[in-house]
Amino acid sequence: MSVIYILLPLALVLVILALWAFIHAVKTGQFDDLSTPAYRLLIDDEVREAKDKQEGDNQN
C-alpha cells in the first residue's frame, strides 16, 4: 500500500496538468463564445476555397 505515497502526488501532478490545460484554453478565448462554434461545426463541412488567407492566431 505504500505505493500510495508515490501515486497520490502523481495524481496531484495530473490534476495540475489538467487545470493548466483548462486555464490555457480559457485564456486563449476558447470559452468566450459558447454558442456560435456549435453552428459553425454544423455547416462548415465543405472544402474551404480561400486557402491563401492566413490563419488567425486565435489571440482574441
Binding site: M1, I4, Y5, L8, A11, L12, V15, A18, L19, F22, I23, V26, K27, G29, F31, D32, D33, L34, S35, T36, Y39, R40, L42, I43, D44, E46, E49, A50, K53, Q54, G56, N60
Partner: protein
C-alpha cells in the same frame, strides 16, 4: 422565386453571384425565422476616417488590421455561415468571425489595399448593416472578467473533487481504522489542497469581506469568510498536532458550490449588459448632411444644430428636427407606440429613432444625441437601471445581524464552557464558528432564482433580476400597453363590407405603396397575376391606378369618391348603399378601426376596416390574472376611444385605462401607483422603456423595441399574453422554493450551531451536515416546480 421586398432580392443576387447560394439551403435546414434583409445601401465613408480607425481598430501588423462591428439582422446558423464567407465576397478581407449571441463580428483586413468602408459595404450588401462597436476596452475587460470567473470555478472544482477523494479514505479510516502514517499523509495533502482553494478561488470571499469591513458595512461575505477562515485555521492546527478534525473537504466543497452559484448570477448580469450595448449601437451614427449642392455623410457627433439632413426611405432618423423638404410617411411606433404611420410634410416635427417609410425627406436638426427625445429616454432607462435588487439588500442586511449573533454565541459558548470544562472551551467555540458558516444561506436565494431563471429562459421568458420574480409572486397592479402587447401590433384587415371580388384589384394596387395600411391590404392576395399601372400616390389620401383595365382607387372616402358622379354610381353589385357603408365606417371609427375605401371605375363599392386585432389568448390570460388577485389596466399612447373599446372587449374596468399618453406621462402614472402597491408594467415600445424600468417589474413582450428589452426586468420572447400568465405562476413557485431553501438552510444552521454550543458536535457530524445543507438546498432548488409545467 418570390421575394418579400426588393432588399431581399438584391441581397439574393449578391449572394448568388458570389457563389454562396448554399446560404439558402442552410437556412432551410436550420428552420430559422424568416426575416427581411435590412440592406441600407449606405456608403460608410465615415469608417475610413483616420480618427475612427485610430480609436476603433487594432493594428496587428502592417498588412493586417482588426475591427469589431455589431451586425443588425444576424439570427441563425445560415447567417453565421454567410458572414464568415465574407473573404470570398470581398477581396482584402482575410478573416471574418461572428459571435452570434452578441451579434458581434470580428473582421481582419488589409488596410494597405482596401478600405474599411469596403468591408462594411460588403456586409451591408448581404443584408446585415454593420455598426461600429464602441468601448472596445470595456468589452475586453468584461471578457477577461468572464474568463477569471471560469478559471476560479475550475480551480475550486479540482480542489473540491480531490479533497473529497481523500476524505473518503479518512472517513473509511474512522470506521475500520487507518494506519497513522497514511492518516497523517492524507491530512497533510488535504491541507495543501484546501489552502490552495482558499487562497486562490476562495480569495474572492475574503476580499469581499475585507472590503465590506473597511467600508464599515456588512454583506453575506463576512460571515462566510469567518466560517471559512475558522475552518482553515482549526484544520491546520489539528493537522500539525495530529488530533481533532480537519474541515478541509467541507471547506473546498463549499468554496466550489458558492462560486458555482456566483458564476450563474454573473452570467445573468452579463446578458443584460450585452443587450443594452447592442441597443446603443443600433441607433444611427451617421447622417447625410446637405451642404449646398453636395451631400456629405458625416458622423452624428459632427452634426450641428440647424444643419439640414437628408433621410432616405427605410432609414431611421438620426436626430430630432423639422421637415423642410419632401413629404413621406413616418413610422414612430418605436418611440410613441402609435401603430399607424403618420404623414409628415414641411413644418412637421420628426423625432430621432422613428423610421422614414416611403420617400426621401430633408430635415433641419433641432436636437441630436443625448439631447434628442430618444436620448433623454435612454438616460432615464440608464439611471433607473442601476437600482439594487431588494433580495440582495435583504441578504446584506441580515448578514450584519448574523455576524453579531454568531460572535455573541461563540463568546458565550467559550465563557460557559470555561466554567464547565476549560479544555473544551476554545474547541467548541471554533466548531460553532465553522458549522454556522451560512454557506447554504448564501447559496439558497441566488441559486433558487438562477434555476428558475434558467428554466424560464428555456421557455422563452428571459428574466434579468431575481427581484422581479419576487414581486410577481405577490399581487398588485398590472399595466398593459395596448399596441403590440394586448394586440398583435400589426395592422391588418379586420372586416370587409361590400363585394369581396374587388379585393384582388386593391391588393395589386397597394403592392406599389409602402404605407403600412397598404402592406396589410396587399397581403390579402399575395399570389396574383394582375399588375397595376399608372400608379399615383397621394400622401394622406390614398392611391390610384389601373388594374386589369379598371380604374381603381383606394384611400379615404373623400379621395375615392372625388371622381364619382353622384347620380350614376351610388350603387354597385349587391346593392349595398354607400350611405349604409358610411354609417358602418363611422361605427368602426368609434371603436378605433380605420375605414379604407375602394372605388372601381369611379364607383365606390367596398369598405375595409383596418385595425390592430386583439391577441387570441389575451382575454383568458387577463381573466386568470384577475382571478389571481392582480388588478389589470391599460396604458396606451393610442387614442382614448380605442383604449376604451379594447378594454371593454377584454373585461378590464375602464376607470384606470388611459389613452393618448406620452412616454413621460406613462412614467408618472407608474410612479404614482408605485407608492401604493407593486406595479407590473407590460409593454413593447421605446415609449414604454422609462415606465418599464421604474415599475417594480417591467416586462417587455415579443417583437418589442431593443430599448424596452434593455429597460425591462423580464423579456417575453414569445408572442401572446399566455407567457405573462406562465411567468406569474412560475414566480409563485419560485418564491415558494426560495422560502423553502432559506428555511431549510436556517434550520441546518440552528441545528449545527446548537450541537456545537452543547459540545456534542462530533467531527463526522460536522463534516456530513455542512456539505449536506448546501447539497439539500441544491437539490431543492433544482427540483422546484417553477416554470416546469406547460400551460
Amino acid at each position: 422565386m418570390q421575394f418579400c421586398c426588393s432588399g431581399c432580392k438584391t441581397v439574393y443576387q449578391v449572394i448568388h453571384d458570389a457563389g454562396l447560394a448554399n446560404f439558402y439551403k442552410i437556412k432551410e435546414q436550420t428552420d430559422a425565422d424568416k426575416q427581411a434583409a435590412l440592406k441600407t445601401g449606405r456608403a460608410y465613408d465615415a469608417l475610413d476616417d483616420d480618427e475612427f480607425l485610430a480609436s476603433y481598430t487594432r493594428t496587428i501588423n502592417e498588412d493586417l488590421s482588426e475591427v469589431e462591428l455589431y451586425l443588425q439582422g444576424v439570427h441563425c446558423a445560415a447567417c453565421v455561415w454567410l458572414v464568415e464567407k465574407l473573404p470570398l465576397l470581398q477581396t482584402g478581407c482575410l478573416e471574418s468571425r461572428l459571435d452570434l449571441a452578441r451579434q458581434l463580428v470580428t473582421i481582419r483586413w488589409n488596410p494597405q489595399t482596401h478600405k474599411l468602408s469596403e468591408m462594411a459595404r460588403a456586409l451591408d450588401s448581404l443584408g446585415y448593416s454593420p455598426h461600429p462597436a464602441r468601448d472596445h476596452d470595456r468589452r475586453r475587460a468584461r471578457v477577461l472578467e468572464d474568463r477569471k470567473h471560469m478559471i476560479r470555478l475550475a480551480a475550486a472544482g479540482a480542489a473540491a473533487g480531490n479533497t473529497m477523494l481523500l476524505a473518503f479514505a479518512l472517513y473509511g479510516g474512522m470506521i475500520d481504522g487507518i494506519e497513522a502514517g497514511y492518516g497523517h499523509f492524507f491530512r497533510w495533502v488535504s491541507m495543501l489542497i484546501a489552502w490552495f482553494a482558499l487562497l486562490w478561488p476562495g480569495r474572492v470571499f475574503l476580499q469581499g469581506a475585507y472590503s465590506a469591513l473597511r467600508a464599515k458595512t456588512t454583506h453575506l461575505d463576512v460571515p462566510i469568510a469567518i466560517g471559512l477562515l475558522a475552518a482553515a485555521l482549526t484544520g491546520t492546527v489539528n493537522t500539525f498536532t495530529g488530533i481533532g478534525d480537519i474541515y478541509f473537504e467541507s471547506l473546498s466543497i463549499l468554496i466550489f458550490l458558492l462560486l458555482a452559484g456566483r458564476f450563474v448570477q454573473h452570467r445573468q448580469q452579463r446578458w443584460a449588459m450585452d443587450s443594452l450595448e447592442l441597443l446603443y449601437s443600433f441607433t444611427p451614427e451617421y447622417a447625410r448632411v446637405v451642404k449646398g449642392n453636395d451631400i456629405v455623410e458625416s458622423a452624428l457627433e459632427a452634426v450641428q444644430l440647424g444643419d439640414v439632413l437628408q433621410v432616405l426611405a427605410g432609414e431611421v432618423f438620426p436626430a430630432d428636427g423639422v421637415v423642410c423638404e419632401g413629404e413621406s410617411y413616418v413610422d414612430s411606433s418605436l418611440l410613441t407606440g402609435e401603430s399607424d404611420a403618420q404623414s409628415k410634410s414641411k413644418g412637421d416635427v420628426i423625432y430621432a429613432g422613428t423610421t422614414n417609410m416611403s420617400a426621401t425627406l430633408r430635415m433641419k436638426v433641432e436636437a441630436s444625441g443625448r439631447e434628442s427625445r430618444v436620448g433623454k429616454l435612454m438616460s432615464l432607462v440608464e439611471t433607473f437601471g442601476s437600482r439594487k435588487a431588494p433580495v440582495v439588500q435583504w441578504a446584506d442586511r441580515i448578514s450584519g445581524y448574523f455576524v453579531l449573533v454568531l460572535l455573541f454565541l461563540a463568546a458565550l459558548t467559550c465563557l460557559v464552557w470555561y466554567f464547565l470544562d476549560p479544555s473544551q472551551a476554545i474547541d467548541n467555540a471554533t466548531s460553532l464558528l465553522i458549522v454556522s458558516c451560512p454557506c447554504a444561506l448564501g447559496l439558497a436565494t441566488p441559486l433558487a432564482l438562477a434555476v428558475a431563471t434558467g428554466r424560464a429562459a428555456r421557455k422563452q421568458i428571459l428574466v434579468k433580476g431575481g427581484d422581479a420574480l419576487q414581486h410577481l409572486s405577490g399581487t398588485g397592479k398590472v399595466f398593459l400597453d395596448k399596441t403590440g402587447t394586448i394586440t398583435e401590433g400589426k395592422v391588418s384587415v379586420v372586416e370587409v363590407v361590400g363585394p369581396k371580388d374587388m379585393l384582388p384589384l386593391a391588393s395589386a394596387l397597394e403592392s406599389h405603396s409602402s404605407h403600412p395600411l397598404a402592406k396589410a391590404i396587399s397581403a390579402l392576395n399575395p399570389h396574383l397575376g394582375s399588375e397595376a399601372t399608372e400608379v399615383e400616390q397621394h400622401v394622406g389620401e390614398g392611391i390610384a391606378g389601373v388594374v386589369d383595365n379598371q380604374r381603381v382607387r383606394v384611400g379615404t372616402f373623400d379621395f375615392v369618391s372625388k371622381l364619382v358622379n353622384s347620380d350614376a354610381a351610388i350603387e354597385y353589385g349587391d346593392n349595398s348603399k354607400v350611405s349604409e357603408l358610411q354609417a358602418q365606417a363611422a361605427d368602426w371609427a368609434q371603436s378605433g378601426l380605420s375605414p379604407v375605401w375602394i372605388s372601381v371605375n369611379d364607383q365606390v363599392c367596398t369598405c375595409l376596416a383596418m385595425g390592430d386585432p386583439i391577441r387570441k389568448d389575451a382575454k383568458r390570460s387577463i381573466e386568470t390574472l384577475q382571478q389571481l388577485g392582480w388588478s389589470v389596466a391599460i396604458l396606451s399612447g393610442d387614442h382614448t376611444k380605442v383604449v376604451d373599446h379594447v378594454g371593454s372587449q377584454l373585461g378590464i374596468t375602464n376607470e384606470d385605462n388611459r389613452g393618448g399618453l406620452s412616454p413621460e406621462e406613462k412614467l408618472s402614472i407608474v410612479e404614482e401607483w408605485q407608492a401604493k402597491s407593486p406595479v407590473v408594467m407590460v409593454g413593447d415600445g421605446l415609449n414604454d422603456a422609462a415606465a418599464l424600468s421604474v415599475a417594480s417589474v417591467g416586462i417587455a413582450v415579443h417583437g418589442g423595441a431593443e430599448a424596452s428589452l434593455a429597460a425591462a426586468d423580464i423579456y417575453l420572447n414569445k408572442p401572446g399574453l399566455k407567457a405573462l400568465l406562465e411567468l406569474v405562476l412560475g414566480s409563485r413557485n419560485t418564491m415558494l422554493t426560495v422560502k423553502l431553501c432559506l428555511g431549510l438552510s436556517l434550520l441546518y444552521n440552528i441545528i449545527t450551531a446548537s450541537l456545537a454550543i452543547m459540545g456534542i458536535i462530533n467531527p463526522l457530524i460536522a463534516a456530513i451536515l455542512m456539505p449536506l445543507s448546501s447539497l439539500s438546498v441544491l437539490v431543492l432548488a433544482f427540483s422546484s416546480k417553477a416554470f416546469r409545467r406547460a400551460l
